[in-house]
Symmetry: C2
Subunit: 340 residues, 2 copies
């Protein structure tokens, strides 16, 4: 079986660690791991596949000889180094938002639009975390009823901001329990026992960049250029799984049983919906799960052809590392990965 | 100045304590306080107006000689004892859901429909907490643009469940910080570091009773019998202020500046909306505030005549105790309170 030379840019971050774990858990064949990070982390070691690998500084030359690299180090690093990797024959799977809306870059959720991978020109974009998770419910419902419009309000875990934010929530709660002052450095305000209607930067029209990702990326991934959506993104004091409340309007009449079946037959989601027995998705239950959970599925009382529902999914997995590895797996299946 | 003989049913609960504090803070003239509770608490003392008052068991005869009583002890106590109080000439301001949809009972948010108070037949209902807070934004926007339809997703504090739930969140976090197992008794699942898409009981159609309160009470209070709404109610690990994300469609074209002005001119709300300077309402900032905060006001990208916005308000105040006292104040202004 062929094995790959794999780079991971941002190995020391929250997503980098999950990529290592998922490559192992999913038996992805790796002949060489090249962990890359900023100069500050160069020389540190990571364990993978019962071997020790040394972190190198990510530079244009770091990509020589690699088959593909997963980037999780933010948009500016991706903009700088992804083209350098591509020049050197290394396919890039990019977790940042840098290339997602580039018409020459496929933006891929493998369960939805893996056919677009074959058009790649070296870079494949991994979607925004909330978008990927929301689509695990929206896409099968779109196939069943024809999606016309939706409203999403998110309950986003701190993992989406990275390892420092996870530490900040932990530290704030520990300080609170010890009766000490609560400090904040990562977020503009305390996140423990609070919610912040603010994820990513604000744009002049009052939306955040995160909110417009759901709008734009949803259209591109589902190939619905006229889809209407409004999203409100909110950070909550949860560690690592996102939740999303969605109201959706469809072209055709809806039926809750048909909706449940459509979701349960979709590979990226599981139905978790038995209110009488207090069964619904919760972020604590959807940490470290491959499938996203969909529940609270009911007829929308404000739209004739509408549904309301609730989705939970692991931000670090389907929202980032898992989807990136699923892209690599699918590219391998389609014979789209080089082998040096 | 006339002063009143005031009963408080549920004096030992989270709302009861806030009622005492607000009666003092707002200089409501009380000549006699009659604190009432279950037999278990009878004989305990409360401090009010620099005097000590003894808690009595709430029974039909407890209301003899009272001018009005505020009930905050749940629907079954209200159903049992409110008619007994009325029989004895005591006006009832009821915080429970028992009488809210009764066509003979005014359901009142004083800033919106205080004119309905004069039709009271002894009982006035205080609305559901999320509904009262959402209406602090929805009503002024309705007056400005004509409300047609809205979608609400809530981020509800544990105070809405009562003092035991506030203690449960505190205990769970303390246990977590001490590395001890997390126990739950009040909620069906852990609330610390989690969110529960479950507030109040589930109905056969998949909605919760709480979600249908927003639907039904919003229609009654705003006198909009055809208003369409879907609500998803979610409990978050926040102590005492609720937040609500709302997408609303209006009859007439909307304008963000006009929307801000309408809200700022409304007595129950303040605009807290300057995203460029990271100014938006957060539950931590809207604890113990008389006005609810409205921010993130922007054009809705999924409706032609739509807005998206975010509201925060203290569940124990505007969502319960404060609104009840505002009803008493307004009834006093309208000379609708008896004096024994």
């Amino acid at each position: 079986m062929s094995a790959y030379k794999v780079g991971i840019v941002g190995i020391t971050g929250a997503v980098g660690q999950e990529i290592l774990e998922l490559l192992t858990a999913r038996n992805f064949p790796v002949s060489e791991l090249r962990p890359l990070a900023s100069a500050r982390s160069a020389g540190k070691k990571v364990e993978f596949d019962e071997k020790t690998w040394t972190i190198r500084e990510a530079t244009p030359d770091s990509f020589e000889g690699l088959d593909f690299a997963i980037f999780s180090a933010g948009g500016s690093i991706s903009k700088l180094l992804a083209p350098e990797a591509v020049k050197r024959g290394c396919v890039v799977i990019d977790n940042s938002s840098a290339f997602r809306m580039d018409p020459n870059v496929p933006l891929v959720v493998p369960e939805i639009n893996s056919h677009t991978l074959r058009e790649h020109k070296g870079i494949v974009a991994n979607p925004n975390c909330s978008t990927a998770i929301a689509l695990m419910a929206l896409y099968p419902l779109h196939k069943a009823f024809g999606l016309k419009r939706f409203f999403a309000s998110t309950y986003q875990a701190v993992s989406g901001t990275g390892a420092a934010a996870m530490a900040e929530l932990k530290n704030q709660v520990a300080a609170w329990a010890a009766g000490k002052p609560i400090e904040h450095h990562v977020y503009p305000y305390q996140i423990a026992f609070n919610v912040l209607p603010h994820v990513d930067l604000f744009l002049p029209d009052g939306y955040t960049k995160e909110e417009m990702k759901m709008y734009n990326e949803g259209r591109k991934i589902m190939e619905l250029p006229d889809l209407k959506c409004t999203c409100t993104c909110v950070r909550v004091p949860v560690f690592r799984a996102h939740s999303i409340s969605i109201d959706a309007e469809f072209e055709r009449p809806v039926d809750v049983k048909v909706a449940r079946r459509a979701i349960s037959e979709f590979p990226g989601a599981e139905v978790c919906d038995d209110p009488a027995n207090k069964i619904y998705p919760m972020p604590l239950d959807f940490q470290r799960k491959v499938k996203c959970g969909v529940g609270r599925i009911r007829k929308n009382t404000a739209f004739d052809n509408g549904l309301a529902f609730w989705v939970c999914g692991d931000q670090l997995w389907k929202g980032a590392a898992l989807n990136a590895i699923q892209i690599a797996e699918e590219m391998r299946n389609q014979d789209l990965l080089p082998q040096h």
